[in-house]
Amino acid sequence: MIILFVALPLVIAGILPLVGKVSRRVVPDLLANATLLFLLVYAAVAGRHFIAAGPVLQQLSWFGEPVAIRLALDGFSLFMLLAIALVGLAACLFSIDYMEHYGAKANYYALFLVMVAGMNGLVLATDLFSVYLFMEVAAVASYALVAFGLGQDELEAAFKYLMLSVVATAFILAGVAVIFGMTGSLEFAAVAKALQELNAGAVVGVASAFFIMGFGLKAALVPFHAWLPDAHPSAPAPISAILSGLLIKVSGVYAMTRIFLNVFGLTPALSTVLMSLGTLSLVVAAFLALGQKDIKRMLAYSSISQVGYVVLGIGIGTPLGIAGGLFHLFNHALAKGLLFLTSGSVQQATGTRNLDEMGGLAKRMPVTAMTNLVGALSISGVPPLNGFWSKLVIIIALVQAGHPVFAVIAVLASVLTLWYYLLMQRKAFFGKLNEKWAAVKEAPFWMTAATVFLALLCVGIGIFFSSTVTTWIQPAADVLADGIHAAIGSWGF
């Protein structure tokens, strides 16, 4: 019943605006969080059971007639579903208190769940067009969510986001068209098989370039990144957490990885391009983050930089590199989600996002400061937090695969990361308490609960990293390391 991952949030999203007419707060809160909790439990408990004997396929049918929607669940998709459910649940819990003053909570949750449904669908899709379709579902919901505050900035940011996203999807669609024109099919398995036989290098190259630009825009790789620092900070904090923590990875990194590794097959050329783009993002965005005064903009640039890490790891193409990249994707989703949530707590308490105006907030908001520190140290790669292990794996994989220069750059960029995160800590939480914030109080219960939940995950995964890797990361990495055989072998209908 893997359709449940898509259908359930969609159905609930449909009900929510109606429910909102009756109950403004309590029922939508309950309903949305219960849905995400169910998805989390379903992915974590039932999901592993489903794929115990290999990937699962589901052919949707309409009154007994098969329709052209097929979903597949394998190690990689399950891993992504788990990440979506985890961060989604944390953001949703956070919203209970955070979204109070925005109003229209039921509509908010409905959009939220549509976005989740879109991401889940993308992860389960088995053909290129479904990828495009679900990507647009998630994206449209996210445009609305970025603009949810309806302020001048939010609307401008949402519009900019929309305009560049449209460019991205246009190029993705172009790439899909090229592939369809060559192979006459959109199914992953059929395309993979056909491309094997066709041996049409140049055209695949063009399609790859289109996809890299399109998905690169979605994933905000440098130089396709410029929309993200405007869009992400303008959204409400839980949405920023979802956008930075999940959406860019699902519609950018996941889609790109799935297509390049399982459908096209990773050629050395593609590998080099991906690694170069990853490294470029890693370094450039780290420097840009360093220069930010706005806490959420700093976090947004940091996301670009960390996605660079993920792409660098996956781009190596070795099993260890892929595992490291995926592990970092997961860790970054948790830690960046956590950081955006704490930034929301700070913004709500002080009314500002400017780091220069903050100072000494740890004295007034100890839990927020503590969880923020955990997230920052995790992303910076400080042992024994989870981020340390994934960066370590990526760097080891780089050295093993014979890319010592990339490894050195990755290490140095990690120092840069620590630099700007310590800067953030010092300006926002440490030091003398700014007189202005003498009356500031700790964030409300659900907001702190959500951040503590993520912070505990960061610490816990850091300590039990090996069991996390063997249960969740390794099955996903195995699927990718299998290359096109994974798609041809198990998805052929």
Binding site: G201, G205, A209, G216, F224, A226, T272, F287, G291
Partner: protein
């Protein structure tokens, strides 16, 4: 009696220490009673163990030959008994003296913890447990000094800790070397020839043992502690416990672990350390103006006799050194306790302010006098006997120079005690101190017990010599060697004894000369010597701590760290602080400038990126 009983002298005081720490101030009487009862039990078992003499407790511990191995035999049972004896006297004394101190609970806890560690160190038959207990003593040493509560107490405590840590570190290295040489950590199995690596091991372990006993140049914290730490602590650790432990270990090192031959290089080294310690420390003691500080330098000086005695490696010398250890612990503890008694009533220990206390504090004065005469080596007290044995040993070893050094030490020892006694208890009553009473029984009794023991061990020296000392040497000398030292111990018509007595007369004349020359002020009696042309300069330098290796070491390290800071740290810091941040900020500024918010700009980058990626892919595919 099961071997497990050997844990009692370690666990009982350790548990008691915790209990004493948590008993609130209001239950002081319970605390005192508990402490005394605990000490009494330990003393009882001290006798039981001494009668038993042979017990072994051994459980595997960390593997690799590291066992928790305790061994009771003659030597360790003797030290165990002595430790228990001092513990109960000090506890009794503390019930009054420490009564109102702000950190009294901690004091009692540290004292009993010290006893636990000391008992463990004495019983240990494996080097690893030994080091464990030995290091534990360092912790309580630090704690006890800080209880002094003076502004400089913390500094002195750190000084004692660092000097102790240096000596212990040296000892641990020595133990490591000895382990490689002998291949075992079980102390009773080790007996190596001190050559090559083993000689280095011997010297390093000797530093550890002599440092614990307070020999030069590891003594410099003791005179500081005399001022900064409670006087009870001085009577407890530097006077009694540390001497017993340090000399016990030194004797074990030079008798058991290494076979030191008379007149060998290492034996001479020991004798040099001993002789230098005797002479230099006593010269410092002579000119002190504070009662406790004067005593503390003697606590250093007397160690010299013990080390000199053991260094002769001749039975009578070793026996003299060991006998001097127990004698010294008694009279020096008694002296510190009587100084504490004076301080308790008058509130000061400055010689200048005191005088003529014998009428008001007759018992303290009596105890002091006996102990002072004993330390000066006056016939027929115990100090006379043990010093005679050391003189004999030094002469027999063939190095007359060391015997002369020991005699010189005897002269100044007596001279300085004439000065101290004259200043405090005899002479004229000063007006600085109001009328006082004799101290409470709990203070006087320990002093009198120690004084009585000094008399007993002197007059009836056969008892301690045959009971305690001679069995230690059995098995370490050639079979059939002469082991009866008691026969000529109190004989005054031998050349050695006559020279010693001559030294005492000389000391008396020196004191009288100084007393008369400085206007009949006893506390200035040492000034004629103090003011000798070159000597005066040296004294000034010594008082300014120029000869203190610790202070000089601290200065050198300060300079070194300053140099490293300026020459290495700052330039590196400059690179990080200025060069890296500047470059980073510049680069960031350029990148930020490019992000100007223009949509067309961003779109252009995307297209440029597409072209580059497409170009790169097509290039790479070829």
């Amino acid at each position: 009696m099961t071997p497990k009983m050997l844990l009692l002298p370690i666990l009982l005081p350790a548990v008691l220490a915790v209990v004493l720490l948590v008993i609130p101030r209001t239950l002081r009487l319970v605390r005192d009673a508990l402490a005394l009862a605990g000490a009494a039990v330990l003393l009882y078992y001290g006798f039981v163990f001494f009668a038993l003499k042979d017990l072994r407790f051994n459980v595997p511990w960390l593997g690799m030959g590291i066992d928790f191995d305790l061994r009771l035999y003659h030597f360790s049972s003797f030290i165990l008994l002595a430790l228990a004896g001092f513990l109960i006297l000090i506890t009794l004394y503390s019930t009054v003296k420490i009564k109102d101190a702000p950190r009294a609970r901690e004091f009692f806890a540290y004292v009993f913890l010290t006893a636990a560690f000391a008992n463990g160190a004495v019983l240990a038959n494996n080097f690893v447990p030994l080091v464990f207990f030995w290091e534990g003593l360092l912790v309580t040493l630090y704690g006890l000094i800080t209880i002094g509560g003076r502004p400089t107490s913390g500094r002195t405590a750190v000084k004692a800790l660092l000097i102790g840590a240096f000596c212990d570190f040296s000892m641990i290295l020595g133990i490591g070397l000895l382990w490689t040489v002998s291949g075992t950590l079980t102390m009773s199995q080790i007996s190596v020839e001190p050559t090559g690596l083993a000689a280095v091991a011997f010297i390093m372990m000797m530093i550890g043992a002599a440092g614990k006993a307070g020999a030069m140049p590891f003594h410099t914290w003791i005179p500081d502690a005399a001022i900064d730490a409670p006087v009870t602590f001085m009577a407890f650790l530097p006077a009694a416990f540390e001497k017993l432990l340090g000399i016990y270990l030194l004797a074990r090192i030079s008798l058991d672990f290494f076979k030191i031959r008379p007149g060998s290089g290492l034996a001479v080294l020991l004798m040099i350390v001993g002789a230098v310690t005797i002479v230099l420390a006593v010269l410092m003691a002579l000119v002190q103006k504070d009662f406790k500080r004067l005593l503390s330098y003697h606590a250093v000086s007397q160690v010299g006799y013990m080390i000199l005695g053991i260094g002769t490696a001749i039975p009578i010398g070793i026996a003299g050194g060991l006998f001097h250890m127990i004698n010294h612990a008694m009279y020096k503890s008694g002296l510190f306790l009587s100084a504490g008694s004076v301080e308790h009533r008058t509130g000061t220990t400055e010689l200048k302010k005191l005088g003529g206390l014998r009428k008001e504090m007759p018992l303290t004065a009596f105890g002091f006098t006996v102990c002072a005469l004993a330390i000066s080596g006056v016939w027929p007290l115990n100090g006379f006997v043990s010093k005679e044995m050391v003189f004999h040993g030094a002469l027999e070893s063939g190095y007359t120079i060391f015997a002369i050094a020991a005699w010189v030490g005897a002269i100044f020892t007596f001279a300085s005690f004439l000065k101290a006694g004259h200043s405090v208890f005899f002479g004229e009553r000063t007006r600085e101190v109001p009328a006082v009473k004799e101290s409470q029984p709990a203070i006087v009794v320990p002093i009198l017990v120690l004084a009585a023991l000094c008399i007993l061990f002197g007059v009836y020296n056969k008892l301690p010599l045959t009971l305690f000392i001679q069995p230690i040497l059995e098995g370490h000398v050639e079979a059939g060697a002469h082991l009866n030292f008691a026969s000529h111990a109190l004989d005054i018509f031998t050349p050695v004894a006559l020279i010693s007595i001559g030294c005492l007369v000389l000391a008396f004349l020196l004191h009288r000369h100084g007393f008369l020359k400085t206007g009949r002020k006893p506390y200035l009696a040492s000034e004629p010597i103090h003011n000798l042309p070159v000597v005066h300069k040296l004294y000034d330098l010594a008082e300014a701590r120029v000869f203190d290796p610790y202070e000089q070491g601290v200065k050198v390290l300060h300079g070194l760290s300053l140099f490293l800071f300026k020459a290495i740290d700052r330039p590196i810091d400059f690179v990080y602080e200025k060069v890296v941040t500047f470059a980073g900020e510049k680069f960031t500024a350029i990148l930020k400038k490019a992000h100007n918010g223009h949509y067309a700009n961003y779109l252009a980058w995307c297209l440029a990126g597409l072209i580059i990626v497409a170009g790169a892919i097509s290039l790479l595919m070829k």
